[in-house]
């Protein structure tokens, strides 16, 4: 036990004192903040580009339908011949020109209307124009059968369906996406950690082989102790790195918030108000503010304690399984270039888990694919976490699935560590050639 602690300490210090570790630790948050700023800037840039459309309206059926919005503005052209209107629109560099010709009835007007652009118009712009026409046509057709304009306006009232679980708990629209996103974030974090730190474990094993210190060490300690010490020490270094990132990133983000003069009190106010907000009142008017409040409330209601405890459980088991495999790979080869053929099959289930998670779990957290992948031990740490964000028990992940998934994970963990320790024990003393899978299988029997 003392020896294991010694090994853990050495591995931890060796990792933490490494120059590239220090550089990565302090540079990554800066890069992350830079990314956030860049994305914000680009988004703003994208939004600020307003599409200007000229309207040559010769018909009496349309008058004030074209209302300038955040993304589109309309300029009315009057008494111009069509070709002049097109020319001037093009010369001014506007997006397009809508020509509404004169006709005896609105149906004809709509049929004869043309939208001229430099190239084929974007679907969003076209949809917007089409919906204006569609509304206007509906209004007219309904008028024919005796619906007044005032009556039509009341028909236009929007509607959103309310949803609830069987136990009567109200759901908030858009909330499932947020939950899945949080789960996905956890899953992604696990994948990144496994790939990065598993790689560190592997390189550390290769280093011991190439520097030929391995035999000196294992004449004092058991190979298994060395392997576990290495895995634990390296993961502690990783946790240190994450801790530094979280702390420094939040400091930097706060600084950014102040720098860009974003008022954080608006979030607080929203949260306080949220306490009184009744979800049932929410959808009717579609007021953005109330929606945010309700979502904020729901985010508060996410079972964070449960989620974080299971994040730790799945993270630990998943990391131990994968880094044991990485350690075995490191022991089997002599240098890093030989690792490719072995590393690829390891990364594959991780990638699969992330893709299955994002495509399948987001849509239906409890569908058969999602359930299968959240039970399969090599993908469960990622997929189960994504599912768990929707809750545990009723309406969420059934408890039996969670139990089975963790049990399978523990059994696999024991199996994989046993298997990896065998390969490790033989591999660290083998020099000179890259083993085939067949030889690795033989080592298991030594």
């Amino acid at each position: 036990m003392d020896k294991l602690l010694l090994i853990i300490k050495r591995e931890y210090l060796a990792k933490v004192r490494n120059k590239s570790f220090v550089i990565m630790t302090f540079l990554s948050p800066l890069l992350m903040v830079a990314m956030v700023v860049l994305i914000a800037f680009l988004t703003k840039l994208n939004d600020s580009e307003k599409q200007i459309i000229t309207v040559l309206n010769e018909s009496d059926f349309f008058s004030n339908e074209f209302v300038t919005t955040e993304t589109t503005s309309y300029i009315n052209l009057k008494d111009l011949p069509l070709d002049v209107a097109i020319d001037s629109t093009e010369n001014m560099g506007y997006y397009g020109m809508l020509h509404i010709p004169e006709a005896s009835n609105i149906e004809d007007v709509a049929i004869k209307t043309f939208f001229y652009t430099k190239e084929a118009p974007s679907t969003t712009v076209l949809e917007k124009l089409e919906s204006i026409f569609k509304t206007r046509l509906e209004q007219d057709r309904l008028y024919e059968i005796g619906v007044s304009k005032q009556q039509f306006a009341t028909i236009q009232e929007p509607y959103t369906m309310q949803t609830a679980t069987f136990s009567g708990e109200l759901n908030v629209k858009g909330f499932n996406e947020i939950k899945a996103f949080i789960g996905g974030g956890f899953g992604y974090l696990i994948m990144m950690f496994i790939i990065i730190y598993g790689g560190f474990v592997m390189r550390s094993v290769i280093e011991e082989k190439t520097s030929r210190i391995i035999e000196v060490i294992i004449s004092s300690v058991k190979p298994f102790q060395l392997m576990m010490g290495k895995i634990i020490g390296t993961s502690l270094a990783g946790i240190t790195q994450f801790a530094i990132w979280i702390i420094s990133a939040s400091i930097l983000l706060t600084a950014v918030v102040f720098f860009f003069d974003i008022d954080p009190s608006s979030f607080d106010a929203a949260n306080q108000m949220g306490v009184q907000a009744v979800p049932a009142a929410m959808p009717s008017v579609g007021m953005v503010n109330e929606k945010i409040i309700a979502l904020g409330m729901e985010v508060y209601k996410i079972p964070w304690v449960m989620l974080i405890s299971f994040f730790i459980v799945y993270f630990l088991l998943g990391y131990l399984i994968y880094s044991s495999i990485y350690a075995a790979i490191g022991a089997a080869v002599d240098n890093e270039t030989d690792t490719q053929q072995f590393v690829f099959p390891v990364i594959m289930p991780l990638m699969l888990a992330i893709y299955v998670g994002f495509f399948s779990v987001f849509n239906n957290p409890h569908g058969p694919t999602a359930v299968a992948f959240s039970l399969f031990p090599l993908t469960s740490p990622i997929v189960m976490l994504m599912r768990l964000s929707s809750g545990l028990g009723e309406g969420g992940v059934p408890i039996w699935q969670l139990v089975v998934s963790i049990l399978l994970l523990i059994i696999t963990f024991i199996g994989i560590v046993w298997f990896a320790a065998k390969i490790y024990r033989i591999g660290i003393l083998m020099y000179g050639k890259k083993p085939s899978y067949k030889e690795l299988y033989k080592w298991l029997k030594y």
Partner: protein, 311 residues
């Protein structure tokens, strides 16, 4: 005599390959034991079993009379043939780490390391990284780490590889010094010339089997062929040689007419050396009369050749 280590019919195989076939050895306490054999004979496999890095498929190993167990790890010091240090770790820190892995306390290790670093005059290396050291320097550190915890049994696998002659001598003297203090030493090598001056006992391993073991002097006596090297001062060497050939088996004769020096090898079959000397002395003055003792290398080659022709 007490034995520090006894192996009884130790066998080990890797898949179809037999690395050790029923090796039985008795390694006496407080002596230097040479474990000899060509590359790939199985020396390292045996040493790894003694160090409990691997375990034998069959057979037993006794350390100091007890069946080998994990408590013995701290009583053994091992300098492997494939050796190295963590390159980016500082010398002192690394030596402390390795000493602690052998079960020493930090303070004890520090005290002993100071002694050894002073002894080798390398005290100012303490804060250097291993990658800044030359190969020979790193080997010195490695040697210190091996002997630091004052093990009862030291195992050196090709200890002199990587040392220049001066440093090799320093290490050789240290090994002899350790033996004087009561340490038992196993010395594994395929280079026979170093065996003569160090080892009292040897075992020869060839193709996974032990083909010879015992006291070096006994083995030499057994392997000597009663051949004597003779040098005589005479002007008519050729005559003497042809006369002697009637009575004895003579070989490798050479006569230098200018220096009047006759040299030849003479094998004694029936007569005693005394009778022969009388006979020779009657012919001419004798410069030297010396029994040819086989070197370890001769024995090594001869046994392996015999083994090859027998098997």
């Amino acid at each position: 005599m007490n034995h520090i280590l006894v192996t009884k019919e130790v066998s080990k195989s890797y898949g179809d390959y037999t690395a050790l076939n029923k090796i039985s050895l008795e390694i006496p306490e407080n002596s230097i034991y040479g474990l000899l054999g060509p590359n790939g004979a199985g020396k390292t496999s045996l040493i790894r079993i003694i160090n409990q890095i691997t375990h034998p498929d069959s057979g037993e190993v006794f350390f100091n009379g007890e069946l080998l167990n994990p408590n013995h790890i701290a009583m053994i010091g091992y300098l492997p043939e494939e050796r190295g240090l963590y390159k980016s770790m500082k010398v002192g820190e690394q030596a402390l780490y390795l000493a602690q892995l052998k079960g020493m306390s930090k303070t004890e290790a520090q005290k002993k390391l100071k002694y050894w670093f002073d002894r080798f005059e390398i005290g100012d290396w303490w804060n250097k990284k291993v990658q800044e050291l030359s190969k020979g320097m790193a080997q010195k550190v490695q040697f210190i780490v091996t002997v630091l915890h004052e093990p009862k049994l030291l195992i050196f696998d090709e200890p002199f590889s990587g040392f220049d002659p001066i440093n090799a001598n320093i290490i050789k003297d240290e090994i002899l010094e350790l033996k004087k203090k009561g340490t038992s030493i196993i010395f594994s090598t395929h280079r026979m010339e170093s065996v003569e001056e160090l080892c009292e006992h040897i075992a020869l391993i060839y193709q996974s089997e032990k083909i010879l073991d015992g006291r070096l002097t006994d083995i030499k006596r057994e392997y000597k062929k009663n051949i004597f090297e003779v040098g005589m001062q005479t002007s008519n060497g050729l005559e003497i040689v042809s006369d002697l050939k009637n009575h004895f088996t003579i070989s490798e004769e050479s006569f230098d007419a200018i220096e009047n020096q006759l040299n030849f090898n003479l094998q004694i079959v029936s007569k005693t050396s005394r009778e022969i000397l009388t006979h020779l002395a009657s012919k001419a003055p004798i410069n030297h009369f010396l029994e040819k003792i086989p070197t370890a290398n001769d024995i090594f080659i001869e046994t392996i050749q015999n083994k090859g022709s027998n098997g």
